[in-house]
Symmetry: C2
Subunit: 356 residues, 2 copies
């Protein structure tokens, strides 16, 4: 099926909100014309705009059954619970979507295509189940160190926490680079990015020995296609105790020429109650952890200003620019121009990005 | 089968040597009485002692067929190639061992129990295949942050490179702690350690999202059993571009109260040709990467003095002690007393290991 003709019904039961329905929100932000409705029985009658602050009049509805009226072609599992497992109660819902003829798109850790009941049902109804976290066997690779001879510039999004806007800022900078006519690519490393980009690799589902190798392989493919600026979606955070290993695998697998650091000024603690690092500490940490191999700098800060007014967001940008000496902006709200400018300026100095 | 009655035939074809046959060497060092012979057709007629400098008169033989004369009960796949995959030519060899009635012990990434031919053959001959890298489904966990209330002391081995002696130094310190009557446990995180300890988890085979959670779960179990000093086998290195993510997952999953840093003074570069970090840099890096959560110090250096004389090894210890201010010793050769002393001294100061 042509991706552009998809009509997505998005399942976000009980979790549709700015911070708790990451995949749903990514679809609404970047595939807005393709989303027909969002299922969350606790918010029936609201629109995406009312819940998220974007997404226009996409309605929130009660159930898959109600969603069928919108003639969807796909059910997208639009939330990603911690650890990514399938809530038991959902299996029946997914089954009923399949029975109604919907294709299934899932980013859950629990692979739906491992469930013989769902697979049999999908076969019976002639629909497909896409597990974004299904890792192809040819992903069992370790890095070749292709970064040592790479000409293309690679930018990685990192953050002071998980789920803080890394994919979004990369998509916005990519939009800006493409608008300037540059040969630019986005490498998706999570299910939402993969849904939007149409390809990629769910880095957090790779066997940990192969994390770095897998991301290098994606970059190598993009370089071979002629892309000169490659933006890699980040995952996790070096300071997040559950997912820091994923983050470091991504850093050393991509060996970025520059970072964009993502931060939400109003977020004080992570989901473990650990206070987020200061921005100068986070900048130093990311530059240090790659310094054994090469020089890589944090070149800009991507601000996530959910819940703030435009004025408040701008005030935070100014404050963070003073604190870090780096351009800082909510690119989702105001565009990525200052970040794109900073990256191109950074790349124009031959003394940047030298081997260590 | 009682582990103590195992008779291990060790397959290390073409790779039996101090540095290229890690699992074989671990078995010879710590299960010496259980190893009947080592297969490597390029070194037939030598003994383990001649090849490794330890292992006594364990003979090197040509083939599995020749090994049957030693009445083995198990074939141990004794080498771990980069990435861990099964060389295609080995399948026939493993099949012939199964046909001869041997159980199979494997630490390869490629799971032998995924091969229907080998599984069928094992069933036919009534033998078992143990894949140390088979991860049980209940390992899909993220950390609970149990370190925040943990009373037991956890020590993690880290290193300036992979395959540098992290398991060995932990086993030696454990031996020393046990000799002092302390309630001590060893947590194996790789196939060789698992073979020796009889349990554990192959951390490098876990889906990366669960690395930290899995190691915490192993520690929690050990704490529940009443162990007060828990030594965690390290994996990879923060400065190794393929496996740094595994290392960081292990660091943040174990949240160690102290590190032992492993180093081989004669090794200049890693397998990518990247120069190893200096010891002060490595000390700083490991203390820094956990400092967001707690204070943890490198308390001693484990020296791998393969190929050096005892005098040369002692000279390196003295030099490294001057450079780092930390006790440094080849514990495999000279015992772990100075490291054990340093750890107990470290733990006796209440001001150490405070939350950050």
């Amino acid at each position: 099926m042509n991706p552009d003709s998809r009509r997505l019904l998005v399942l976000a039961e009980g979790k549709f909100s700015p911070l708790r329905s990451k995949t749903a929100n990514g679809a609404i932000a970047y595939l807005r014309d393709r989303v027909v409705a969002v299922i969350d029985s606790t918010k029936v009658g609201l629109t995406a705009q009312e819940v998220l602050g974007y997404g226009g009049d996409i309605p929130v509805i009660r159930s898959i059954q109600d969603g069928l009226a919108f003639k969807p072609t796909h059910l997208l599992i639009g939330i990603a619970p911690p650890g990514g497992r399938l809530p038991a109660s959902w299996k029946a819902d997914i089954g009923s979507a399949i029975s109604a003829g919907l294709h299934i798109l899932s980013g859950l850790h629990t692979l739906l295509t491992d469930d013989p009941d769902l697979v049999a049902l999908a076969e019976k109804h002639g629909v497909t189940i896409t597990d974004y976290r299904r890792i192809p066997p040819e992903s069992e690779v370790i890095p070749k160190a292709s970064w040592t001879t790479r000409k293309a510039k690679v930018v990685l999004a990192v953050g002071t926490d998980c789920n803080i806007g890394k994919m979004t800022v990369m998509l916005e900078v990519v939009k800006e680079f493409k608008a300037r006519g540059l040969k630019t690519d986005f490498i998706a490393t999570g299910q939402t990015g993969m849904l939007i980009r149409g390809r990629g690799i769910a880095v957090d589902s790779i066997i940990s020995d192969y994390t770095a190798g897998c991301i290098e392989k994606e970059i190598d493919q993009s370089v071979a296609e002629g892309h000169e600026y490659i933006f890699v979606e980040g995952q996790g955070a070096l300071t997040h105790q559950a997912y820091s290993g994923v983050t470091l695998g991504l850093i050393h697998g991509s060996m970025p020429d520059a970072y964009i650091l993502c931060h939400q000024p109003t977020r004080i603690k992570d989901d473990y109650g650990v206070t987020l690092p200061t921005l100068p500490a986070a900048v130093a940490m990311h530059e240090q952890i790659v310094s054994h191999f090469k020089v890589s700098k944090v070149v800009g800060v991507g601000i996530n200003s959910i819940g703030l007014s435009d004025d408040e967001s701008r005030a935070w940008s100014a404050r963070i620019e003073r604190e870090t000496g780096l351009p800082a902006i909510d690119a989702f709200r105001f565009g990525a121009k200052p970040l794109a400018d900073a990256l191109l300026r950074h790349f124009s100095f031959p003394s940047n990005n030298l081997p260590a």
